[in-house]
Point group: C2
Chain length 217, copies 2
DNA sequence: CTAATTTAGATAAAAAAATATCGATAATAA
DNA sequence: TTATTATCGATATTTTTTTATCTAAATTAG
């Protein structure tokens, strides 16, 4: 896998949330925002906010705050969300359909242009406006469409096979929702989304809270 | 929000992935696993693996490895996934349906027992075996069913309202898929899942890689 | 106009996480 | 039996992330 070291990862993960809030503010006609307001919104300390925003290169004005518009532009530029990334999605099941139905992605510069599935009942149909192709055509179509990003929404035991086909088709970045880590060549980037990971954190927090409550009695 | 400080968060997020791999191994009849194999699977260093496993309390045998069964039990115990958590889900749209359709949750001790939605067309229907109730009955039914966990899959602008109703209904833990941070009383835990966060990381990694490649020429 | 307040940004310290080193234990091969 | 290899676990180091402190700039109230 491409060994692209990216520090400030927690900050990067937070940027989309800033972006949402700032977009709402702009829609409401607000032009300036100060740290304390964002801190309340994000449930974070003020210093965190300033550090996060500093990463994008914007510079606020002491005593005043940041320009909303400037922040939005800077965040999008930092994330490279100005340029549209076209992607193919494999696995038009529940999760795959959900992702295709998420309109927010357009805002993020992500455009899913085609879906693939192994199920003959799904092949040939449309899911939220995208054609579902036979999985056997993944490599060919990916290459022809010059797509560089792939999204994997298949069960864990099929994910590696799909990843191999994506790589064969010229994919250079994979967003992997299957609960396995993929083996890919050095020049391919994989970002794994383990939804269960968040639930694990929630579970541990709950256990801890119960223990704390018991301890208080 | 309940201020439950939990260190070793990255480890906790990784535990479900270990759990999947270990379950597969057990199904295949494998009883012992050593760090190098897990390290390859996880795409992580061996030391990380040992530290992660140590957190659960298991102790391996030098020169041999860890007992698969013991690890599975220890991870589940650590995450409190032995005990079933019943949850209600609000927002039976694309993402909500996907979550209800994910069979893996049973393995994690999560049981979604009912769904709620504001859309009259959805109310009264069934989604993947669960009844969809009117959102106005959320508080009442949550209280009657004694459910303590809620999953929010509604658009960002409705999430706070749903959270308030959940809290009114006695919910103590919220798994929030909306892209906002929620204000809740101190004794309620919120775990937020920002799917776009992962995409942000992927985007930055891609930009960096392009820069690196350009630099090499 | 001056003083108090709000706020950004730089520097520093603390905490957490990732990584490295080394000794000890068990299995395997000579 | 002995030497070699594989592996865990304890300790130490480095890096990353979070948190704190202080200074300077801008606004607002008196």
């Amino acid at each position: 896998m491409a060994n692209v070291k990216v520090p400030k990862l927690p900050t990067i993960r937070r940027l989309p949330t800033y972006l949402y809030k700032l977009s709402e503010m702009r829609k409401a006609g607000i032009e300036i925002v100060a740290t304390p307001e964002l801190a309340r919104y994000m449930n974070l300390g003020e210093i965190v906010i300033r550090k996060d925003l500093a990463l994008t290169g914007v510079t606020g004005q002491p005593g005043v705050g940041y320009k909303v518009r400037e922040l939005i532009d800077a965040i999008k530029r930092y994330l490279n969300w100005n340029n549209v990334s076209e992607a193919v999605l494999v696995g038009a099941g529940a999760l795959g359909s959900a992702l295709m139905g998420y309109e927010g992605f357009e805002e993020y510069g992500l455009r899913i242009i085609a879906a693939f599935d192994a199920d003959p009942l799904k092949v040939g149909t449309e899911v939220r406006g995208r054609s579902v192709f036979d999985i056997d055509r993944l490599e060919e179509l990916t290459r022809r469409l010059q797509v560089r990003m792939g999204i994997i929404c298949v069960p864990a035991d099929q994910a590696q096979d799909i990843a191999d086909r994506m790589v064969a088709g010229g994919i250079k970045a994979i967003w992997n929702f299957a609960n396995v880590s993929l083996k890919v060549p050095d020049d391919v980037i994989v970002q794994r989304e383990v939804i269960a990971g968040g639930f694990a954190v929630l579970s541990v927090k709950m256990s801890r809270k119960l223990l704390e409550e018991d301890a208080q009695d």
